[in-house]
Symmetry: C2
Subunit: 457 residues, 2 copies
Amino acid sequence: MNQSTFGHIGPGDLSLFTDRYELTMMEGYHDTDHVPTATFSVYFRRLPPDRGYAIAAGLEQVIDYVETIEFGESAIEFLTDQGFGDGFLSYLESFEFTGEMRALPEGTPVFPNEPLLEVTAPILEAQLFETLVLNQVGFQTLVATKAARMADVVRRRGDGQALVDFGSRRAHGTDAGLKAARAAYVGGFDGTSNVLAGERFGVPTHGTMAHSWVQSFDTERDAFDAFADAYGDDATYLVDTYDTVRGTERAVAATADRDVRLGGVRLDSGDLIELSKDVHGIVGDAGIVVSSGVDEYFLREFFDRGGVATAFGPGTALTTSKDAPDSGVVYKLTAVERDRASSPSMKLSPGKVTYPGRKEVYRVERDGSYRYDVLARRGKRLEVTGEPRLTTVFENGSCVYTPPDLGSIRERTRRELETLPPRHRRVREPETYDVRISDGLETVTRETEHAIRERER
Amino acid sequence: MNQSTFGHIGPGDLSLFTDRYELTMMEGYHDTDHVPTATFSVYFRRLPPDRGYAIAAGLEQVIDYVETIEFGESAIEFLTDQGFGDGFLSYLESFEFTGEMRALPEGTPVFPNEPLLEVTAPILEAQLFETLVLNQVGFQTLVATKAARMADVVRRRGDGQALVDFGSRRAHGTDAGLKAARAAYVGGFDGTSNVLAGERFGVPTHGTMAHSWVQSFDTERDAFDAFADAYGDDATYLVDTYDTVRGTERAVAATADRDVRLGGVRLDSGDLIELSKDVHGIVGDAGIVVSSGVDEYFLREFFDRGGVATAFGPGTALTTSKDAPDSGVVYKLTAVERDRASSPSMKLSPGKVTYPGRKEVYRVERDGSYRYDVLARRGKRLEVTGEPRLTTVFENGSCVYTPPDLGSIRERTRRELETLPPRHRRVREPETYDVRISDGLETVTRETEHAIRERER
């Protein structure tokens, strides 16, 4: 048994993290010398159910990917075995990105049809990125959005409760566990249970006590005594192993007997809302951590019913985005060079319409609130006073953007969400935010569709 | 910008892929010298909705993890900063597994309360593994199950259609994309679009054509001509960019004009079932690949309505297990050494009952069909003629098990599923398979619960 049976994915492996057809297309473009400059746009066709917005996340990982991608010896060897030709493989051996990338900064609310990312490059370069970019941006955006919804409920209804990601065990693999912790922090969480996310991204890590600790002692009281001895002041006791109320009383007694301060208790089963009130009567000012089945819908009910807590530990619902595990984000060709000029392009597949061409997103704010967005053609002067939102990330293949630190991104999310009217932030049936299509873009869309219908008649 | 901003997880990093509370517990066990031998069991409390079985997967990755886990210099440094003590960190520096692990081989159908995995070891060793084991086994089992459901529909209703995983872009991160390809193959798929899964696990890779190829030429016909020139015989043409039927006619014409054999066409939008019949009339014996929104429910409808295809490319539904993105698999302490003898243990948290003690799973087959399972105490002779299913994987910390190759695992899944009566394999409301609790285990469960209630009175 060698180390590789786990399936680790190192920096040199991301070049092969792509759908085979991307390489097939690339080889075709390469071998027929058909390499027009093309623009691909990453966007939501529609937001997942009950989402009034999404929070852009994952750009930093895309930047690192584009900057470090390489086809090493073993990758080339494998592709040779798979039947790819020598000419194309020589090209891959010296692959590097030469194009432009623009993006919405992480932490920005995004709405349907707005580019999260726009890549303009020789078509075979841009083609390669599709799979990995969707995989990273789609997932992190999904989790940042889910986290932002929970953080928003807590900010509006709570009194400063902490939100900590407890979901690594339920995440879909290791990368998901790590990136969910990052994306949750972007969305407004305060920390994670995942230690590696602390080491890798500086997300604050938190942890309490497991049922196994309690079970490994003869009695719950013995377990709490030992915990108080080992951890002293401010530890948190898991109290639901046998009976939540009695467990809480024992945690209070164990800490009192040892003269250490009770940090708090964690509730993990039963009617968490009623129990939180009962337990509050016992622990007073000490912490109450609620950790089973927490999501934005639960949180709303929790506050409606007068639950009492100092922290929440969402798990499954957060890291799998359980009610909407699929972002639906797509990576579509929207422009291609014809006769040396960029020409808008779109598919006509039913129900899957694309706005063609390179774009800009303007966000119009009045009296401290976002009113509507305008989706427009890039580089056309617009008669609106909104702020253009896409930032240039790569120019001529070089990164010209320094990603902010994670704390600043998190702060941006908070600030932006506060500027978005609450009716778009409801957790059920939010009102649709208005994304207006500029007159110019409407015209180009009609013209492009007409031109295609003529050509393909 | 350095390479680590992507967040790669190498072999040396998995030790930190754990919830902080696992390390907190471990430190407590270590520092108070409370290190009883404990047994943890990994199992489903209940199967996800509409699942009549699950297919065990991910064991090979767990083995690799346990064999290679280490706390290197940077991990220790980070844990020092996080406040863990020197004594405990010295222990971690030389951490190795000394215990036993038993498991259901990959490709085995598993039912609620049956151990997918059972770890018996000094409690602090077994505690560490919880997060990563659930993360890997939970996810792969989820995807292998989803894949098996689709493969089962195709085997029963189809005529040898291939199933290829097209879902890497929708998977939750890179590890999920890679492991979903592996797990789908375990479940009965024939291949994946993910090139890295080919390189890493030998899963056959497949790919066709993208919309961008078609859009990058002046007309669809130009695009197909160029594709026929570049790829010759047996290529597959994506025909829905503008109009599926016309696109199909153009693919036929382009290949005929060039005297190359049409491999097939791919349909990716519209009423795929009706279109597949229309297209079949045009392409005859050539392939028809259907690739949008494919899952087991779609497949059943596809065959009900007389759709025609040679291959299916499920994506999102497969890699996110969209209708059930959470396996719900747990890792629970079921026995702990007291007075030098192993003593069964369980939580009493409402709705979360555990069968205590170390276990064996017997599967009773009659006339070529599985009739019921018996969940029993380990090492107690049982009055059933079923075959014990748990295999020893680690003994005294050494791996004593050689995982079969992936093809053999896939074959096991197929064989096992054919032995499971069809009423348990229905994709909606399957009949519950009977898992009987042995008399001995029933008694121990009652006694353990009684003993805890007495102790904790």
